[in-house]
């Protein structure tokens, strides 16, 4: 009996340790980024593009990468939502619940969201060559759109699924067509859709491996979609491999900016979904 009690206590202890070990890295990561990033961050980082000796440690900032990342992610997210919304409505309203077609589409989206971003990057590169494009913002937008589309579809799908069947039936009984019922559904889950969109945007802005082939890198803010663009993760990655300490410090500062943007997006996504789903 005493042995059994001891085993119980021992494994409870082990579980608490595991819980601690799982939570620890999150705080360590944020702590590391804060400690390393705060000393080297200044206003020039976010208001200036790289000047002449930037990569030797002279003045300048990463505005080119911030702007590039925003252009890229915002356009890709808008495109992905434009593709995802019809797919999700098709899955939930036009197809019957439990239909084989819907199951197949969901399965494919699950599989696609598991595909690593480097594979999408390689595919984006092939598409780029196929259409005779150069490395450019446009090629990056196409790649990132394909990358985040499956995730967007699946998370929006989960949101729309929460709509009760009765709401649809009530809408039909008033004589609505399916597309009109879809509008009712969209209005009902709008906060959820916004949350899904924000999460996709977060994924788009943080991804480096898919754009490494397609967007290129530049010190300027892109003026059109046919120009190459810098992105924040790649800027961090390149600056980090520099042998000069000042440049590496700036990579930490850029990492702090990226982390801040991501946490802000995740937090507002969660805030919107909590606030509105509890109310309705």
């Amino acid at each position: 009996m005493r042995k059994r009690k001891f085993t119980e206590q021992f494994f409870l202890f082990l579980m608490r340790v595991s819980m601690f070990l799982v939570m620890l890295p999150l705080f360590l990561i944020i702590l590391t980024i804060l400690v390393k990033g705060i000393p080297s961050i200044d206003l020039a980082m976010i208001t200036q593009t790289p000047k002449g000796g930037f990569y030797l440690g002279k003045e300048g900032g990463v505005l080119n990468a911030i702007a590039g990342s925003f252009y890229l992610s915002a356009s890709a997210t808008i495109l992905a939502v434009c593709i995802s919304l019809p797919v999700v409505l098709c899955l939930n309203i036009y197809m019957k619940r439990g239909s084989n077609k819907a199951w197949l589409i969901r399965l494919c989206m699950d599989v696609m969201s598991g595909v690593p971003s480097i594979v999408f990057g390689a595919f984006g590169f092939l598409v780029m060559l196929f259409f005779g494009m150069k490395v450019s913002l446009l090629a990056g937008i196409i790649t990132v759109t394909i990358l985040i589309m499956p995730v967007t579809i699946r998370s929006m799908d989960e949101m729309v699924r929460t709509v009760p069947e009765q709401l649809l039936q009530a809408t039909y009984s008033l004589g609505a067509t399916r597309v009109e019922a879809a509008m009712v559904v969209v209005r009902r889950v709008l906060p959820g859709l916004i949350t899904a969109t924000l999460l996709s945007f977060g994924r788009a802005i943080g991804d480096a491996a898919s754009v490494i082939f397609t967007t290129g890198f530049t010190d300027n803010i892109p003026q059109s979609v046919s120009q190459p663009a810098a992105t924040l993760p790649l800027a961090i990655f390149f600056q980090l491999s520099s042998p000069i300490p000042e440049v590496r410090d700036r990579a930490y500062a850029a990492a702090l900016i990226l982390t801040f943007i991501i946490l802000l997006i995740s937090y507002s996504a969660r805030y919107i979904s909590n606030k509105f789903t509890n109310a309705s």
Partner: protein, 300 residues
Amino acid sequence: MLALLRIWVDRMAARIFSLFAWFSVFLLFIILAGLVFKSLPIMRSYGFADLLFSADWKPLQKQFGFLPFMVSTVYVTVTALAFALPACTLASLYLVEYARPRFTNAVLPIIDLLAGIPSVIYGIWGILVIVPFVRNHIAPVFHADTTGYSILAGGLVLAVMVFPLMINLLVEVLRTVPRELREASLSLGTTRWETSLFVVLRKALPGIFAAVILAFSRAFGETIAVLMVVGNVVKIPHGVFDSGYPIPALIANNYGEMLSIPSYDSALMFAALILLVIIILFNLLSAFILKSLHVHRYSV
């Protein structure tokens, strides 16, 4: 007249919506076909087995052996799971079986935050914390000589990266175990741990298996974070303190020279194809297991 217009709009919407839906499915096959098409030249001139099981990687002399990269990838992934699986299983057991609901509800969103952090940030953390830790604290214990940029460092960073995915999935899986089973077991006089081990974990075994496969495939394709800490040396690693060179890192590091060396682009597309095929197979397998357990994969 208006009614006809509404019906027409509805029919058109049906067509457009399903067009989009099938397009998105079709995309997966286009990606697959594109990569197969591009890697055909190298498969034809070297043969499948030669590419996969040769250890000579000298693109300039037209030798493309993927064995060092495959072994590195498997090494890093297995190391990651060796850390992540026990930690996540125990942690999710704690969250589902022991902890108060308030604690669980507070912890899960925090773990989701971890999932949103970009891989380049994990990479920086790996360079600043994990690599020195491996070099100064872990390696001396085993009398190993290493720079710290090693399979072990890559595995540790990857383990942290798959924590959120594994915990979320395992919590979902453990929650599908009916409460009656636990009550029946406890009423026979078992302790909580015995119930967890012999009833809950046992019942959840297929789900845990599915979670492991998913985590495996996530770790398999992770690029930037691993690339930053794993050392990138082309040779077959002989232990966790050796440097490795996983397939995704190979693709990401060499995109620059891709078009200047003959058959190099084809070789890299072949590498991407290997990743894609393995991940499709793994994901299909876990999807079927999870479907039989009625677990939704995404719980946003």
